[in-house]
């Protein structure tokens, strides 16, 4: 079943093509393949994912998929999640991110590795499996694209019309003043 976003995006592209009189070119590709029947991730893992992604509203399907992928890679995952959750407040005040990483490394138990793995998955949608092979577990809903969603779509998507790019995003003036 298409998500709301997937439906919207594919419908928009399709509408443009139909208007242009080229229905035979309607793209058959859809969004990154959704996962069906995935069990919900444990609550502590979801809480950690929310903290690591700055409460951006990270996709729950992505979180569940990530948990499922990490279980065989990191034995004792739930315990490690608990430790990382407890460690985060201790390192949150460190302003230099490199020193923060070092502090997590100093905590031991592979917390730095877990921190990087979860952030990579939440923000980039990739996770390395037990054999070190990289897998894609998400694309258009990853946190990185959520962070910039008010001015740009993930590559390969377009909800604008031809030449929309000539104008700056509509929030331009406010954004420039705020950041």
């Amino acid at each position: 079943m298409l998500s709301r976003r997937e439906f919207f995006v594919s419908s928009s592209v399709g509408a443009v093509l139909v208007v242009l009189g080229v229905p035979k070119l309607l793209p058959r590709a859809m969004a990154a393949t959704p996962v069906i029947g995935l069990p919900v991730a444990p609550a502590p893992f979801i809480t950690l994912a929310d903290q690591l992604s700055g409460e951006i509203g990270v996709d729950r399907e992505l979180v569940a998929f990530l948990h499922q992928k990490l279980v065989p890679v990191l034995p004792g995952l739930d315990s490690l999640v608990e430790k990382l959750t407890l460690a985060l407040p201790k390192v949150a005040g460190i302003t230099d991110p490199a020193l923060r990483l070092q502090a997590l490394a100093d905590e031991g138990d592979g917390l730095k590795d877990l921190f990087l793995r979860i952030n990579t998955a939440l923000y980039l949608g990739t996770v390395d499996n037990r054999d070190g092979q990289r897998e894609c577990i998400g694309f258009e809903s990853v946190a990185a694209y959520q962070a910039v969603a008010d001015y740009v779509q993930p590559p390969s998507y377009c909800t604008g019309s031809p030449n929309f790019w000539v104008q700056p995003p509509v929030f331009n003036k406010e954004s420039a003043a705020h950041v």
């Binding site: 590709a29 951006i56 490199a98 952030n119 897998e135 779509q153 390969s156 929309f164 331009n172």
Partner: protein, 541 residues
């Protein structure tokens, strides 16, 4: 490998390679009433499948990743690691990327459809360097027009005019307007004498050829999801509608010669390791500037002990590309790159001048890639997370600028492709690549470094990161290995694309270019293929 003993296939013309050079030539030949059979090593490719592969792929920075590789038609791949298809002999790497499949590498090109300027073809006469082309710009110009119509090129306009490349007819479509970011940079770079122009693109600015106008999916590489950008499969499809006999998964490994050293047949091996023989009156080789070389070098016989078309040991030499340097930085204002087509404009007023006698000319592409993924990878690895990461990402992605240069390589006979003793799964030899950069390019880098610094300064740039002198990336503009010329001792084919050694063998594509110039080579390579097709038509009368 076993032989299929049935009656050989035949046609007036056999084209080897189903990329844009072969596809466009097939259309032209078929329209003139010739029968055409096309052999393609790889498989047909489906746009929807490739888009799906991209979205579900783990290596989105690898433009080759979405394209399936058949065991009988391997292609180079370097991410996450070198698959060893091209054997690098150095001293510099030559990390070519090309697709073996129906439509060829234009599936993931940027769509930049530049013509050469007349001076590009007279380096020896004007600057005392390299070699002159055996034909003039005026002779090539009609074929440029044909190619632009076949592809559907948008370009020109009041700002860009003809880009210094005289035209006998207008562009098929109006130029695509520059994105907001480019207009801002255009205004600010002008203060240091660098001029951004909207480039010619094989991308629809309106509905054209039953394809829609670009709506800015910002994914020209590795795949345009809506077909607004031209690729070679569109010409192949058109040729099929005109009667083309396309055989995919057909790996050509030998050109057979006969009386008078004419080409009598081609031999190919299929996905079931069955060998077939195809006969024709004329043969057109458009299997890209590396794979074509391989076929010729493999085709050794008593008459041609160095391989076909290689009596003077020129096949595979003079390998070129456009070495590229880069700068990235954060501008002092939001620019919002990542909206619109990926390479819609560039700096071109550094492309020609008396300095070409001393150092490479320069073109600078302003990249409109969505920078979000690149910056995220960097910041996550550095230890950013949470709200801090989200805010930094948004702020920096809005201001991120990436400029990439192109330098002009000079033809060097020692930069070359030779056959390796190593073989692929179908028993076909792999290629060894020998490659080095001349001082001419390094001096071009020095000049470009200054331009880059000016650009950074003109836009209040911070966190600038310049690529290193001598560390250049390929632009995937493989050129020179089958070059045309006026002297058989120093070239593979004549000004008509006809092999010096075989009167019924013609060569098209970018390998035929005797110098690489400074612009994306596809439009020129296809135009040379159409010129060769014209030669075949004249020879068929």
């Amino acid at each position: 490998m076993s032989n299929n003993s049935s009656t050989p296939l035949s046609a007036d013309v056999v084209i080897i390679g189903a990329g844009t050079a072969g596809g466009a030539a097939a259309v032209k030949l078929l329209r003139k009433g010739l029968s055409v059979l096309m052999l393609e090593a790889g498989a047909p490719l489906d746009q929807g499948m490739v888009v799906n592969n991209y979205r579900n792929g783990a290596y989105k920075n690898n433009h080759m990743a979405p394209y399936p590789m058949m065991p009988w038609a391997p292609h180079p791949n370097f991410i996450p690691h070198d698959n060893g298809y091209l054997i690098q002999k150095g001293p510099a790497p030559y990390t070519a990327q090309y697709i073996r499949g129906v439509g060829g590498t234009t599936w993931h090109w940027a769509g930049q459809a530049w013509r050469l300027i007349p001076n590009d073809m007279r380096l020896q006469s004007l600057y005392g360097l390299a070699t002159d082309w055996p034909l003039s710009y005026e002779e090539l110009e009609p074929y440029y027009c044909e190619t632009e119509i076949e592809m559907g090129v948008s370009g020109g306009g009041p700002l860009a005019g003809d880009y210094g490349s005289p035209r006998s007819m207008p562009y098929p479509m109006d130029v695509l307007p520059l994105p907001y970011a480019f207009e801002r940079l255009r205004e600010r770079y002008e203060t240091v004498g660098l001029e951004i122009l909207p480039g010619p693109q094989a991308r629809n600015s309106r509905a054209y050829d039953d394809r829609p106008a670009c709506c800015g999916n910002n994914n020209c590489m590795p795949i345009c999801p809506i077909g607004a950008q031209y690729n070679g499969s569109m010409s192949v499809r058109r040729a099929q509608s005109l009667g083309l006999n396309l055989i995919s998964n057909a790996v050509v490994f030998k050109l057979e010669t006969g009386a008078g050293n004419r080409i009598e047949a081609v031999h190919y091996i299929d996905e079931n390791k069955q060998v077939h023989r195809v006969i024709a009156k004329h043969f057109l080789l458009t299997a890209n500037a590396m794979e074509s070389v391989k076929i010729l070098l493999m085709s050794k016989d008593d008459q041609n002990p160095n391989g076909v078309a290689n009596a003077n040991d020129q096949v595979g030499r003079h390998l070129m590309d456009h070495p590229s340097s880069a700068v990235e930085y954060l501008a002092d204002e939001p620019l919002y790159f990542g909206r619109g087509p990926m390479c819609p404009g560039s700096i071109n007023n550094t492309r020609d001048g008396a300095f070409r006698g001393e150092r490479s000319a320069i073109r600078v592409d302003v990249h409109n890639d969505n920078p979000t993924r690149y910056l995220t990878e960097k910041y996550v690895a550095q230890g950013y997370y949470g709200k801090e990461l989200n805010e930094k990402l948004k702020r920096d992605a809005e201001r991120f600028v990436l400029l990439k240069s192109m330098f002009e390589m000079l033809p060097d006979p020692e930069n070359r492709i030779v056959l390796s003793d190593q073989k692929d799964e179908w028993g076909i030899p792999k290629m060894e690549v020998h490659y080095r950069f001349p001082e001419y390019v390094h001096r071009g880098y020095d000049a470009c470094r200054d331009h880059f610094a000016q650009c950074v300064s003109a836009t209040g740039g911070t966190e600038a990161k310049f690529s290193e002198r001598g560390q250049y990336t390929n632009s995937q503009h493989i050129t020179g290995t089958l070059r045309m010329g006026s002297d058989p001792k120093h070239s593979v084919c004549n000004k008509h694309g006809q092999a010096w050694d075989h009167e019924n063998l013609y060569i098209g594509g970018t390998g035929v270019m005797p110098t690489a110039a400074l612009v994306n080579s596809t439009l020129t390579g296809v135009s040379l293929s159409l010129l060769a097709a014209d030669s075949i038509i004249k020879a068929s009368v």
